[in-house]
Amino acid sequence: MAAPLTLLLIVAVTIRAVLFRSSWAELISERVEVVSPLNAWKRVVEGLALLDLGVSPYSGDVFHEVSLSLIHFLFKSILGSDGITAVALYLSIQTYNKNVFRKQKYALESDRYPADCLELLRSPKEMFYIPLKVAMFYLLNPFTILSCVAKSTCGLNNAIIALFILCTLKGSALLSGILLALATYQSIYPLTLFAPALLFFLQRLYIPVNLRRSSFWFFTLQYAFIYVGSLVVITGLSFFLLGSWDFIPSVYGFIFSVPDLTPNIGLFWYFFAEMFEHFRLFFICVFQINVFFYTIPLSIKLKEHPVFLIFMQIAIISIFKSYPTVGDVALYMAFLPAWSHLYRFLRNIFLVSCVLLACSALFPVLWHLWIYAGSANSNFYYAITLLFNFGQILLVSDYFYAYLRREHHLTHGLYLKKKDGTEATLVLK
């Protein structure tokens, strides 16, 4: 399987290199859908220049990257980060599939599945190409390509999250904790991935989620300690590198309080541009809580399926975060082939793909009408933003429903009967 992956990497790098060279690169790197104030390359260059001049890069309103990224950038090109993400995703899904298959085999041997849902079981044949498809979905996704060509630092963020997933699935609590801390340090929101990672390790070590068990608390504290410890170390490190705490308000304050209302594909900008100033704090809390709040019900519902929970969390982050870009969307979309066995239970996939396709085409058109032609206005663009997010939410909830439904069938049999013997249907309420 290494050969197709290498080939894929070569193709992906070629496409990116060609686009880099073309005159499109500059255009793409200016698009608000692709870069946000948090991850624009232009701002990184500015920050580096300020650092060179001995000025704190956070002193103005230009630079909102965390400082360690600065150091990273000196060594590492963004082109590489996409490759790393793809390989990490490839290996993680491979590992995940092995786990899933092993579990399925045990369950089959112990005869736990109802007889009529054998067709729901996954065969190694169909699972063989899934890791490759995942890598392909990430590398050849136009969103990723755009984001990479724009040199958005989003690619870097994705790489860290992908590595975190890989380490988690490989069972290394230490590395997983450190990488999660790194991701959190970069953009706060991956904080919510703590719950699925913890659930995964607990499941792996056969520790039941039971609040009265000491082993549960022991491991939770251990993992939390790794996570918080490395977070403190990284933050302290950047303090020593910069010699000031400037970056805390400039990065995290910037993420939380959303002062930059440049339009993007997210839900924040329009709302806060229209808002009366004295309601601002309240609504910022309401909007930000969205990202974090869903962790609790989802963790309870999906506590047996931490990997799916990771997917859900990444998707929710990319929908509800304050400065989303298409690069974030690309990361969770890469997981879709891993759930290809849910296809038969998806209900709105046609609608969702139409909506997402149309929106992707309409973003630049309405932007043109608004900003260049001056004939449309921000309402047009925000309408498309809303529609795009509606599509994403529908997509995620559809997969959520399909996943739960398959699990339900696996325990209760495929052909459900109501009490009176008629055919039953499952409804998500």
């Binding site: 067709e119 296809y343 038969r344 239970f345 998806l346 209900r347 709105n348 046609f350 609608l351 139409c354 396709l357 149309a358 085409a361 309409l362 058109v365 309405l366 043109h368 009408l369 260049y372 032609a373 001056g374 004939s375 449309a376 529908l394 429903y401 069938h409 495929l414 052909y415 459900l416 055919e423 039953a424 249907t425 499952l426 409804v427 998500l428 309420k429």
Partner: protein
């Protein structure tokens, strides 16, 4: 969200939509056409009104009185123009300087990609002369532009002369809060484009133009003046700009208001307004006016000098004097007063015109149709594509969709490989790229080998590639998978339908007319295509034939019907003009047709030869 999560209702709805798909599609199509034609019916339209406060309440008194002097100036200008054999730059500079303006010139040159046979030009060299009247009452941060093209022959002399007379009059007034730029441009649109690029420090269309030495503030509005006789019978307002962009409706309202006030006959699309909307003739008249607007807007070219200003966020319109054989005559003084009034009102603006509509159609000057009223007509056509796509999806993924209720068994037939669909898509688009690039690049070769002029070479190459595209991409799927499957063409059709829907939707947002005309011709054929359809029907409703029909309808509407051969010649010149407009001013219609619409149509064409 009940509809999206309740499986029973969903099933009922999809069942209904697939069972009644064809009738619903037919009803939608007819409803779309009827809706569109209904837009010209007066009770369904809105009366225009002035939205901008700054222009509404303050009445101005027009005092311009030097119409006669303007006419004598026109004669003088004519004489100097003849002597100089082109634009009399020195005379103009002197004339403007003597009227107290700051005068500057800008020289420019542009080599056309191929000779323009309509206007007989290839290597264009010219000079723009402009004078700035500095605002005495405000910081010079904003400006207005009055422009008059200096055309060859003895046309448009009166416009230039009136411009100079207005400049003289305006110079003595004290109420100007915006700089006023008086621009006389050579070679009509090319000159305007060069001047605008110079003014805004941009270079998007490979002009070689001198930089501007004098500037005023940011331009708020522009009026272009075209006047070729001493007296006129009516004034025509031209709004359609590049890529179908229109100025803010308030500019049209302003013009209309002053025409009413001064008692000047005003027309739009050269058609007078009628009051008998309830008669058949009255309706036909309004419908014709609107159709003319739609056709003009659809072709995406700039119908006057104003059209290029729109791209720079400057509201602009052309005012064209028409002298026909009516008894009612208007003299130059009145036109001068009309312009004075308009400029004074624009001078009162506190911010850019933005209150009124930017998306509208005008069945007459006093009535308009806004985007909310005309979009449903397009929406009804576009929804057909989506309905057909849904129908195909249901048929294709029958096992997948049956999972909506419990789960039914059905072995999914082996789905066609991605390659069978991808190959036609790629080939179609490569043909499109060839259609876009080759005509201009191959002209030298074509001229060497065939006895044709460059312009003919370009147009004929385009037609040849277009026709060759029809022969090219058949049956690629047979090479790949042996025999074209039923599944195969359905997947291709599904892809192409969605592609077309997105494409038309985006087009209609930018240029409604173009999107609508394409939808009217493309939707029925693409929605009903199967491998059994006749190729002739498909060809007759292809994009090129759409252009041909539009040429004939346009000629019919401007009451200058043409024979078939004349129509053909016009068709050829329309193509060459389209390519030129793209190269010279950046009009998007040609690339849109060549790179997207035509390849999309080829994808459907491919289905015809699937078996």
């Amino acid at each position: 969200m009940g509809l999206l999560s309740d499986p029973n209702r969903r099933k009922a709805l999809t069942g209904l939509l697939t069972r009644l798909n064809t009738p619903i599609c037919i009803v939608c199509y007819l409803a779309g056409i009827v809706w569109f034609m209904g837009l010209a019916f007066e009770p369904f339209t809105l009366r225009t009104y002035m939205s901008e406060n700054a222009m509404g309440s303050t009445m101005v008194e027009e005092r311009f009185s030097s119409g006669e002097r303007a006419l004598s100036l026109a004669k003088e200008f004519d004489a100097h123009k003849r002597k100089a054999g082109g634009m009399p730059v020195e005379w103009l500079v002197k004339a403007m300087q003597s009227r107290g303006l700051e005068v500057f010139t800008q020289s420019f040159s542009r080599k056309l990609p191929f000779p323009d046979e309509n206007k007989e030009r290839y290597m264009v060299r010219g000079t723009n002369v402009y004078g700035i009247l500095r605002a005495p009452r405000a910081p010079r941060t904003e400006a207005l532009v009055i422009t008059a093209p200096c055309s060859p022959g003895n046309t448009n002399n009166q416009a230039v002369a009136l411009l100079l007379a207005l400049a003289q009059y305006f110079r003595n007034q004290i109420y100007w809060a915006k700089d006023i730029i008086f621009l006389v441009n050579e070679h009509d649109l090319i000159g305007t484009q060069a001047w605008l690029e110079g003014y805004h420090h941009t270079n998007i269309t490979e002009y070689i133009s001198g930089s501007l030495r004098g500037r005023a503030g940011s331009i708020q509005a522009a009026l272009s003046l075209e006047l070729s006789s001493d007296v006129i019978t009516s004034l025509d307002l031209v709004l359609e700009g590049l890529n179908g962009q229109l100025p803010n409706l308030d500019l049209a309202n302003l013009f209309y208001a002053f025409c009413q006030k001064l008692g000047v006959l005003c027309t739009i699309q050269g058609k007078l307004q009628r009051n008998d909307w309830d008669t058949a003739e009255g309706y036909t008249h309004a419908a014709q006016t609107m159709m003319l607007m739609v056709l003009k807007q659809a072709c995406g070219r700039s119908w006057g000098d104003h059209g290029l200003f729109l791209r720079y966020h400057i509201e602009a319109a052309s005012v064209r004097g028409i002298n026909s054989f009516r008894h009612y005559k208007t003299d130059a003084t009145t036109i001068g007063r009309l312009l004075e009034g308009m400029v004074r009102k624009l001078n009162n603006l506190l911010e850019r015109l933005h209150q009124s509509y930017f998306f509208y159609l005008l069945p007459s000057l006093s009535r308009f149709v806004s985007i909310g009223y005309y979009m449903p007509a397009f929406g009804l056509l576009a929804v057909i594509l989506l309905l057909r796509a849904l129908d195909l999806w249901v048929h294709l993924g029958a096992p997948a969709l049956a999972a909506v209720d419990g789960v039914t068994e059905a072995e999914q037939p082996s789905s066609p490989g991605v390659l069978t669909v991808l190959t036609p898509v790629v080939i179609s688009h490569l043909t499109g790229v060839a259609l876009y690039l080759l005509p201009v690049h191959l002209q030298e070769m074509a001229v060497e080998h065939f006895p044709v002029s460059e312009t003919e070479a370009v147009v004929l190459t385009a037609i040849a590639i277009y026709t060759a595209g029809l022969a090219l991409p058949h049956n690629t799927q047979r090479l790949l998978s042996g025999e074209g499957t039923e599944q195969g063409w359905k997947v291709l059709k599904l892809t192409a339908l969605l592609y077309l829907a997105v494409l038309l939707g985006c087009t209609a947002l930018i240029n409604f007319s173009l999107g609508f005309i394409l939808a009217v011709t493309l939707v029925p054929i693409t929605a009903s295509i199967t491998p059994a359809l006749y190729a002739v029907v498909m060809v007759l409703l292809s994009p090129a034939f759409t252009i041909l029909y539009c040429v004939f309808i346009y000629q019919e509407l401007i009451e200058a019907p043409v024979s078939v051969s004349e129509g053909w010649m016009l068709f050829l010149s329309v193509i060459s003009q389209g390519i030129l407009d793209h190269a010279l001013y950046g009009s998007l219609v040609y690339p849109l047709l060549a790179l997207f619409i035509y390849p999309c149509w080829l994808m459907f064409w491919n289905i015809l030869f699937w078996n």
